[in-house]
Point group: C2
Chain length 209, copies 2
């Protein structure tokens, strides 16, 4: 074979990313060899090295492919619901995140790899930096919303902004962790509204639902 057109090359790149997703989900990041990824994508290792410098670059591209859309949505959601009160916005954000995890197979696969198939050892690793930034940014958004609720006297008594924020973060991280690992015991394909309502009822005074 030889050179294909640019669109064809993009297809190859995409096929490699798809194959890497499945292979890394099956064997973990360190266990997924370029050889098997190449076989899955029906190319050779040469093709992978042409598109990606090494495994780190491949992983980074994988994460960015599914992750960037999420960031957009975080902000657009705040812009689309500007007149809602903070608790309602927070509720919509949580439900949207859970809904995406339940319905977007690509996103679920990448999240599964990052949470249970990736040995996060070096905090300066590009992928670790991506994940940390995502966590920090989400935390800032949640914290802002909790602060807005506090300013509007919508927090339950005894509840601080920091505690409300951390409780929400822990809940979301926990749902990701549990459902991605034990989806039969802790399925993500469910109606999350009751549980989110219960969680938020411990935090905010205004009525939900």
């Amino acid at each position: 074979m030889a050179r294909k057109t640019k669109t064809r090359a993009a297809q190859t790149r995409s096929a490699i990313l798809d194959a890497a997703e499945r292979e890394m989900q099956a064997r973990g990041v360190s266990g997924a060899s370029f050889e098997r990824i190449a076989q899955r994508a029906s190319v050779t290792r040469g093709a992978i090295y042409w598109h990606f410098a090494d495994k780190d670059a491949l992983l980074t591209a994988m994460v960015e492919r599914t992750y960037l859309p999420l960031r957009d949505l975080q902000y657009s959601l705040r812009n689309e619901l500007p007149h809602q009160e903070a608790p309602a916005i927070l509720r919509a954000m949580l439900l949207h995140g859970l809904e995406r995890l339940a319905s977007d197979a690509h996103h679920r696969r990448v999240c599964h790899i990052l949470t249970h198939g990736y040995e996060n050892t070096d905090p300066d690793h590009p992928v670790a930096v991506l994940m940390r930034n995502a966590f920090e940014e989400s935390r800032v958004v949640v914290h802002d919303l909790c602060q807005q609720a506090a300013d509007a006297d919508q927090l339950q008594p005894q509840v601080t902004v920091d505690n409300a924020c951390d409780l929400v973060m822990a809940f979301m991280c926990g749902v990701y962790s549990c459902s991605l690992r034990y989806n039969e015991l802790f399925t993500v394909q469910r109606d999350w509204r009751p549980m989110v309502a219960t969680l938020l009822s411990g935090l905010f005074v205004a009525g939900e639902e």
Copy 2:
């Protein structure tokens, strides 16, 4: 060198486990080689292969060394507080788990390895089975307590036993995940009582604290 006494051999075994803990925390399970573990323990790879068949056996021994005490405590806690009401027992259990994670460095290291330094790919892997059993057993305990609360009419309206149980499980898993990964952003060394109280106030009607 040569053969030491039995107690001396036990010391060697323990030193290997300690070294493996630190090496795996630093480089991940798959990145930790027997060579570096041996160097850290001031022995050779031969010593490791004498005590453990392979890396799986080493990891399993590491997990069992810190994990078995936890199981004991789950049950002893229920026996020591038999006259308390279910929400109070649940509260004590959560706080005890969080306190242990904050104060027991060995336990924290092993949990860190399992949650962020271990590629959990094969569900039949002995370590994966250990983790799954721990999750299921914890879930059963939490579920029972929620059921007891429901039988005593202590659940908030609209809250089901299953949702209460899963919310608690997600919270705990989330705290483990967040604090083990980002302890500066989400520290585990804090007074957890307010946050646990907030969480449980969304679930149960009786007064806490």
